[in-house]
């Protein structure tokens, strides 16, 4: 499984949305499923999945799927394509 697939899987499972809905443009709080509580669960799952511990400011900045990839890249998690 690629990192991109892993990321989509985490978002899809935690937010309980279809994998197809996990796009770079998906923004925090733009859908009811991605609220502050879900965001914490999401971060916890992403940290476990990619074996990283994010800085608090990075967690706060994780405002979209695209931003999430950008932040994870700082922790040497790269996304193809």
């Amino acid at each position: 499984m690629t990192n991109n697939q892993k990321l989509i899987d985490v978002y899809s499972r935690i937010l309980e949305i279809a994998p197809e809905a996990v796009k770079d443009e998906l923004i925090y709080n733009s859908i009811p499923e991605w609220d502050s509580t879900a965001h914490m669960l999401l971060v916890a799952e992403l940290e476990g999945c990619f074996d990283v511990m994010l800085d608090m400011d990075d967690i706060i900045d994780m405002s979209s799927v695209a931003k999430c990839k950008e932040i994870l890249a700082k922790y040497e998690v790269t996304f193809e394509g």
């Binding site: 502050s36 965001h39 967690i59 706060i60």
Partner: protein, 172 residues
């Protein structure tokens, strides 16, 4: 105790220099909208409130994230022994609804159970404030009754420990 720390959050005793920032937050439309009393607070009212704090029997803190003020926390003793009413708001909109707000609440609740020897906390949330209700439920609060557009919620030490264990990984 003048301050209490949990990770990057510090709950600090309110100082005169914090008053204007607290008043500004309290008067902002989005904070006022969630309050029972939605009137604006004047400078004089704020000063009177501050002067009454020492004798209020309640605990009031300004919450700081990495030393920067971001919100307000209080714990008020109610008539029932060892039961406190918990209130808080994240004044700085950048941190509202983020993990920092959860940390602020964890610091508040830890303080209540550890330092005040609380046995139970109560909170009242507007029924329309779904995000705050879910926020509280994540912390272990349970809905008790709904009256006059408000949900009355309670938090036991046991329920909090279960909830806290799931959130503890974010204390940093």
């Amino acid at each position: 105790m003048s301050s209490y720390r949990l990770g990057s959050i510090t709950l600090a005793e309110i100082q005169p220099e914090d008053l204007e920032q607290l008043r500004e937050w309290r008067n902002s439309p989005d904070i006022r909208a969630m309050m029972c009393d939605q009137s604006k607070i004047s400078v004089e009212q704020q000063r009177s409130w501050y002067e009454s704090l020492a004798s209020s029997g309640a605990t009031h803190f300004v919450a700081r994230y990495k030393s920067v003020p971001i919100g307000y926390v209080n714990l008020k003793s109610i008539s029932e022994p060892a039961v406190y009413e918990a209130g808080l708001y994240t004044g700085d909109a950048r941190y509202r609804g983020t993990v920092v707000s959860f940390l602020m609440a964890l610091a508040q609740i830890d303080f209540a159970f550890e330092q005040l020897s609380a046995q139970k906390l109560v909170a009242t949330v507007k029924s329309e404030n779904i995000a705050a209700i879910r926020f509280n439920e994540t912390l272990g609060y349970q809905k008790q009754r709904e009256a006059e557009g408000m949900w009355h919620m309670t938090l036991s030490a046991d329920a909090y420990q279960v909830a806290r264990a799931k959130l503890a990984g974010f204390i940093r």
